[in-house]
């Protein structure tokens, strides 16, 4: 048993975080090439379910949003939509060097360079791409962070909403999605 840290949480949040950490639903949204590392992580070879994690199809029922690799501006609009649909508490994990500093797409006209300007990232995994071992390791880390109350990016997003929105507007122009399939 780890030591319960209260920091800025109420007692109910401490209890809630303890139980949340053992039952995490992962939003099944594949943004880049790192999505191919998820099937071995989910299935019998590495078995994500041993940590109590499972995939979930819709953002409204999910707890953790994985940004698996490079994010084009077009995808970022959809990711922001999905993130804002998710219910509190919600966590974001950034995969690979593309979400950290652009990776090999550092000079691309279509992909962003730094994810935490637009969404609050709780945990980054380094690598290009991170192998399933690294992903499993980071999920263990995420569970510990949730138990200790360190994964509070969603609170940061609420408190600094204007800053995030300003960054999103600077890079994207607007977040509203216009395409011919929604017209």
């Amino acid at each position: 048993m780890h030591e319960v840290q209260k920091n800025d949480r109420s007692l109910w949040e401490v209890v809630g975080d303890y139980f949340r950490a053992n039952s995490i639903w992962m939003k099944w949204y594949c943004t880049g090439c790192g999505a191919i590392e998820m099937p071995p992580t989910m299935t019998s070879r590495f078995d994500m379910e041993q940590l109590g994690m499972g995939p979930m199809a819709t953002p409204r029922q999910a707890d953790v949003l994985l940004i698996t690799g490079y994010l084009s501006t077009k995808t970022l609009r959809r990711v922001i939509y999905s993130y804002e649909q998710m219910q509190d508490p919600k966590y974001v994990v950034g995969f690979g060097s593309c979400t950290l500093n652009g990776g090999i797409y550092y000079d691309s006209y279509a992909t962003i360079n730094q994810l935490d300007k637009y969404l609050p990232v709780d945990l980054y995994i380094a690598g290009c791409m991170p192998r399933p071992e690294a992903i499993m390791n980071s999920f263990g880390e995420l569970i510990e962070m949730i138990k200790k109350g360190e994964a509070k990016g969603w609170k940061h997003y609420k408190e600094n909403h204007e800053w995030y929105k300003a960054n999103q507007m600077d890079s994207l122009g607007e977040v509203i999605i216009h395409d011919e399939f929604h017209e």
């Binding site: 077009k74 609009r77 992909t111 962003i112 730094q114 300007k117 216009h178």
Partner: protein
């Protein structure tokens, strides 16, 4: 190359009035035509069995001041691929649509207009954006477009040096 195939190519050369060039790949040939002759060439090739248009693409030859349009056709009867290539003026890139010969080209023409800025007369939808949303610069696959400058102006980079938090994981036997 079989004998019947060489006869077939000779017929093609005679009818089209152009040289059919061989490529290192098997069963793949290409022809260079003037941009005014592309449509009659494509119509003829479709008539003789090239029913599938696999790709319509573009290359920017900035030193020659030209855009090159490439159309890849396939004949399912004998498995031959044919590349039809033509040069356009880079300053005022205009071309007449090929959607009345190959209707599937409508999305390729939108893509080429988006990435190279070639205008397709006769295609009513070619100016609609296909991949890029809210694009506000010159077409990005032109050779004189600077993606680094665009990326720097739009997408902030992480400032170096990084400060990494390291954690040693000890493995116990």
């Amino acid at each position: 190359m079989t004998n019947s195939m060489s006869n077939w190519i000779e017929t093609l050369e005679k009818d089209l009035g152009v040289e059919v060039l061989d490529s290192p790949a098997k069963l793949q040939y290409f022809i260079d035509v003037e941009h005014t002759n592309v449509h009659q060439t494509l119509a003829y090739l479709r008539h003789v069995g090239f029913t599938q248009m696999s790709l319509l693409s573009c290359i920017d030859w900035i030193e020659q001041g030209k855009f090159q349009l490439i159309c890849i056709l396939m004949n399912w009867e004998n498995g031959v691929h044919m590349l039809v290539r033509t040069m356009l003026d880079r300053e005022n890139p205009e071309f007449t649509t090929i959607t009345d010969i190959y209707p599937g080209a409508v999305y390729y023409e939108r893509e080429i207009h988006e990435f190279f800025g070639v205008h397709f007369r006769g295609n009513p939808t070619y100016q609609k954006p296909l991949f890029l949303e809210r694009w506000d610069d010159m077409p990005p696959l032109r050779k004189d477009f600077d993606p680094q400058a665009y990326s720097d102006s739009k997408f902030p980079r992480r400032e170096h040096p990084h400060v990494f938090k390291t954690k040693v994981v000890e493995v116990t036997e």
